[in-house]
């Protein structure tokens, strides 16, 4: 019996229904193990995994779309808590999803280990004895010959060896086997899958992902306190951060200008930077989408960009109380951008500002502003001003990109006596109530950089390549056995019999047997003539 395959594998012998002995404790363990490692279980788990992956594509995931989750929860107040409890917002990290793939991999390991052992044995073993009745096997064919049995078989063995079969002569027959690579490939494929899982699970823990928004002309240092957001792996230590500095010199977008169907569509983003490793000199570099910058074993990606209007706030006597570029978040393809400025100190009252920046402003008949081109052609900044307690002094952290206006008083804007303040570049306006003035000095651009360090990804790639290699070998290399046998009858006439046996899918088996018979006949014919 072939113990190497699960008992319900198509190549395994049919189960004996009657033999059902009493099972003890070990017997039950063995029974469950066999169930887990059976083909049917593997198939069931594979299909279950496919089904279990679906909900995560229907509902936004915290890992890839955190804002989507917040919005989904707000829109579906009844079902969201249930989904939350089931872990649907973190489907791919949930207990049930992990349980399925872990069981699948345990089943896989339970299947692969005995097969690997058997395969090692098979690699050293001799081809099996020639079956007594070849006519029962695939592609059975016969040829008459005048050569004697021993010579004929020796010649058949030579042909088979030339075709890279391993051969063994048993009496007046030769047994040949080839295609061990098929099983090798199959095992490599499955082991490489385990390799991918293990490297992702363990290797991923040593990496980190950080985001940082940098305005043109500014730089950032690769240290924990400098990130806007930071996700370390499980085994990450602060000392893993290679201390380098990236200074963003210039961000240059290119927008389509001629093709009317794509007017304003971005066709290139280029970020010119200089990088400095500790103790090194500054190196120029370029970061583009699809072309990250590698510095100190870390990859830096360009993931977003926008405008960071440089707003200067002065008190009534002209002293600067606020002056810095503030990244405004793009709201649409034409970069209508929303931003928040908080000025807690220096003026008679705390002021909060929410504003829209329009790189190419147009005003419709109702006075509604919008941007119709992403580049700076007709820049306009529109600001609503609030006074009141900004809530920055109570020690609680607040979102820099949001202003809670509930307890604030609007002094310029739609519901205030003074309409929203509007400024072009270089323009200056007075803040109502004599609080001071606001100037739009310039509008530099910002880039949003992702810094990734994942020491395991080279290994993941290696295993992925092995997955493909193993798959191709296991699917397209036929594993087959061929036999040639010389039968001498009472009169001394020799009949040669040929047949084959496939293990797994082997569409070319019949042709291979026929080819062997043909080649052999030719060779014997020649040797008789000579």
């Amino acid at each position: 019996m072939d113990l190497t395959r699960p008992s319900d594998h198509i190549d395994a012998p049919a189960p004996d229904k009657l033999a059902q002995p009493q099972l003890g404790f070990v017997g039950y363990l063995r029974f469950f193990w066999r169930q887990l490692t059976s083909m049917r279980t593997a198939l069931f788990l594979l299909l279950l995994l496919a089904i279990a992956a679906i909900p995560g594509s229907l509902v936004p995931q915290i890992s890839s779309d955190p804002n989507g989750v917040v919005q989904y929860k707000a829109n579906n107040p009844t079902i969201a808590p249930i989904l939350d409890k089931l872990g649907v917002f973190t489907t791919y990290y949930s207990v049930w999803f992990s349980a399925i793939y872990l069981l699948l991999f345990i089943s896989l390991i339970g299947c692969v280990i005995p097969r690997t052992k058997h395969h090692f044995d098979a690699l050293r073993a001799h081809p099996p004895k020639t079956p007594a009745r070849l006519e029962r096997l695939e592609g059975f064919t016969t040829r008459e010959t005048t050569t004697d049995a021993a010579t004929a078989i020796e010649s058949a063995a030579a042909i088979l060896r030339k075709q890279r079969y391993r051969t063994e002569v048993y009496g007046d027959s030769v047994s040949a086997e080839r295609g061990f690579l098929r099983e090798t490939g199959n095992l490599v494929f499955h082991i490489a899958l385990i390799g991918v899982l293990v490297t992702v699970a363990i290797g991923g823990g040593f990496g980190y992902v950080g985001q940082r928004v940098v305005v043109e002309g500014y730089s950032f240092v690769n240290s924990l306190s400098n990130y806007d957001s930071f996700n370390p792996g499980r085994f990450f230590r602060d000392s893993d951060l290679v201390p380098f500095t990236i200074a963003v010199q210039r961000f240059t977008p290119t927008y389509e200008q001629r093709n009317l169907s794509a007017l304003g569509q971005a066709i290139d983003y280029t970020t010119d930077v200089t990088t400095t490793l500790r103790g090194g000199s500054a190196q120029p570099g370029i970061i583009k989408v699809n072309a990250p910058l590698r510095v100190g074993g870390t990859d830096v990606y360009l993931l977003g960009n926008g405008y960071a209007p440089q707003i200067i706030v002065r008190d009534p006597s002209g002293n600067v109380v606020f002056s810095q570029p503030t990244p405004f978040l793009p709201q649409d393809a034409n970069l209508r951008s929303l931003g928040v400025v908080k000025v807690p100190d220096g003026l008679a009252k705390q002021i909060g500002i929410t504003g829209f920046f329009y790189p190419t402003a147009i005003e419709d008949a109702k006075g509604q502003l919008s941007s119709n081109y992403p580049d700076v052609l007709n820049p306009l900044l529109s600001l609503n001003i609030y006074t009141g307690d900004l809530g920055l002094d109570n020690g609680k952290g607040t979102n820099a990109f949001a202003l809670n206006t509930d307890s604030l008083t609007q002094i310029a804007g739609r519901i205030a006596p003074v309409p929203a303040l509007k400024l072009g570049i270089g323009e200056k306006v007075e803040i109502p109530n004599g609080l001071g003035s606001i100037e739009l000095k310039a509008v530099p651009r910002f880039v949003s950089l992702d810094v990734h360090h994942d020491p395991s990804q080279g290994w993941v790639l290696l295993f992925a390549v092995l997955v493909v290699g193993g798959l191709v070998t296991s699917l397209f290399i036929p594993r087959r056995r061929l036999w040639a046998k010389a039968v001498t009858d009472a009169s001394g006439a020799v009949t040669l019999e040929y047949a084959g046996l496939a293990r797994g899918d082997d569409p070319g088996l019949d042709a291979a047997v026929a080819e062997l018979a043909e080649k052999h006949a030719q060779q014997l014919g020649r040797s008789v003539e000579s």
């Binding site: 319900d8 594998h9 198509i10 190549d11 395994a12 083909m39 049917r40 593997a42 198939l43 594979l46 299909l47 995994l49 496919a50 992956a53 679906i54 995560g56 594509s57 229907l58 936004p60 995931q61 890992s63 890839s64 779309d65 989507g68 489907t91 791919y92 992702v200 992902v209 389509e256 093709n259 169907s261 794509a262 569509q265 971005a266 066709i267 290139d268 983003y269 583009k288 989408v289 699809n290 072309a291 990250p292 990606y301 993931l303 992702d450 990734h452 994942d454 990804q457 993941v460 790639l461 992925a464 390549v465 997955v467 493909v468 798959l471 191709v472 699917l475 797994g504 899918d505 569409p507």
Partner: protein, 321 residues
């Protein structure tokens, strides 16, 4: 220049669709002919056995129809259908090439272009496979499917030629998307074979008594083997697509796998077809069950291309719609 090429390309697409329609009709007529009064394969034997009493004329007609005899001339409808398919495909490919020239890049950067290319590849795979096996009986399925896909693409997905956004400017666009389309072509053919296999299995079980044309087609287990061989090629290509996509994602988005909706569905499809391949090796799962899995898998491929592209939120938002 661009406008001229685009209009030529569009004319070529519509012409190809017209000729595919004719080919579809011819393939259908061929199936109808196969359903002709006497079930062929059975009757050849029966008539041969009673040759002395049977009419010579009838015998001749039946032997010409029998697919088992490749030396005989191909039936006329089938010949015309195949010629029309080749002509339509040449137009189809030239439409695709002109579209690419007009855009100055590979013609698969939005849903319209992807549909155009993927359908051309499906027909290309169908035509190429004929050199290996006579699968012309799948012509109805293939031309019908491609016609519907092209119809939807031209009416609902059409967009003008636009430049590539920065995220798509990569050599991986050429490799990843092309191999995905090639895989889709093999899965489509596998699905077609599985449909015929299911019908054939029903007929062999004595259920589909009225589908006489099935008698001229290969037996269910042979169809299953053919489907399997076509699908494993698709599976290898799909595995490559998945890995190439991960490598590209690492370049473009800074992570090789992030459970983006499109990644999830590509993974689901991979898992279903992995299940299909295991089903073939599991006792009790050969036959109709594995055929159903192949169809579910292809259904997921179509779902991934249409519903996921249009209605699911994710990073693969390149439909251009």
């Amino acid at each position: 220049m661009t406008a001229t090429l685009v209009s030529f390309s569009n004319i070529a697409v519509y012409s190809a669709m017209a000729i595919y329609t004719l080919a579809f009709i011819m393939f259908t007529l061929d199936l109808a002919r196969r359903s002709a009064p006497a079930p062929v394969r059975l009757d050849v034997e029966r008539n041969a056995a009673s040759a002395s009493s049977g009419s010579t004329k009838l015998l001749e007609r039946l032997t010409t129809d029998a697919p088992a005899d490749p030396a005989k001339k191909t039936p006329r409808y089938l010949r015309i259908a195949m010629s029309l398919t080749v002509i339509a495909w040449v137009l189809h490919v030239s439409a695709d090439v002109m579209r690419g020239l007009a855009a100055g890049r590979v013609p698969w950067a939005n849903m319209f272009e992807f549909s155009l290319t993927a359908t051309a590849i499906i027909v290309g795979v169908f035509l190429a496979v004929q050199f290996w096996q006579d699968l012309r009986f799948l012509g109805v399925f293939v031309t019908g499917f491609v016609l519907i896909a092209l119809g939807i693409a031209t009416v609902n997905f059409y967009v003008d030629v636009v430049p590539l956004p920065p995220a798509l400017q990569s050599a991986w666009l050429v490799i990843h998307v092309f191999v995905a389309s090639l895989g889709t072509g093999f899965f489509a053919l596998g699905a077609a074979l599985s449909v015929v296999q299911l019908l054939q299995a029903r007929r062999e079980a004595g259920k589909a008594a009225r589908l006489n044309f099935l008698d001229t087609l290969p037996a269910a287990d042979r169809l299953e083997n053919l489907a399997y061989r076509v699908i494993v090629v698709g599976f290898v290509l799909w595995t490559f697509t998945l890995i190439a996509g991960a490598v590209w994602a690492e370049r473009a988005w800074g992570r090789y796998w992030g459970w983006d909706t499109k990644e999830v569905w590509t993974f689901i499809i991979w898992t279903i077809f992995a299940g299909y391949i295991h089903a073939r090796a599991t006792r009790g799962w050969r036959g109709p069950r594995s055929a159903v899995l192949a169809l579910v898998g292809f259904g997921a491929v179509l779902f991934n291309f249409t519903i996921v592209n249009l209605f699911f939120k994710g990073l693969h938002t390149y439909s251009g719609l």
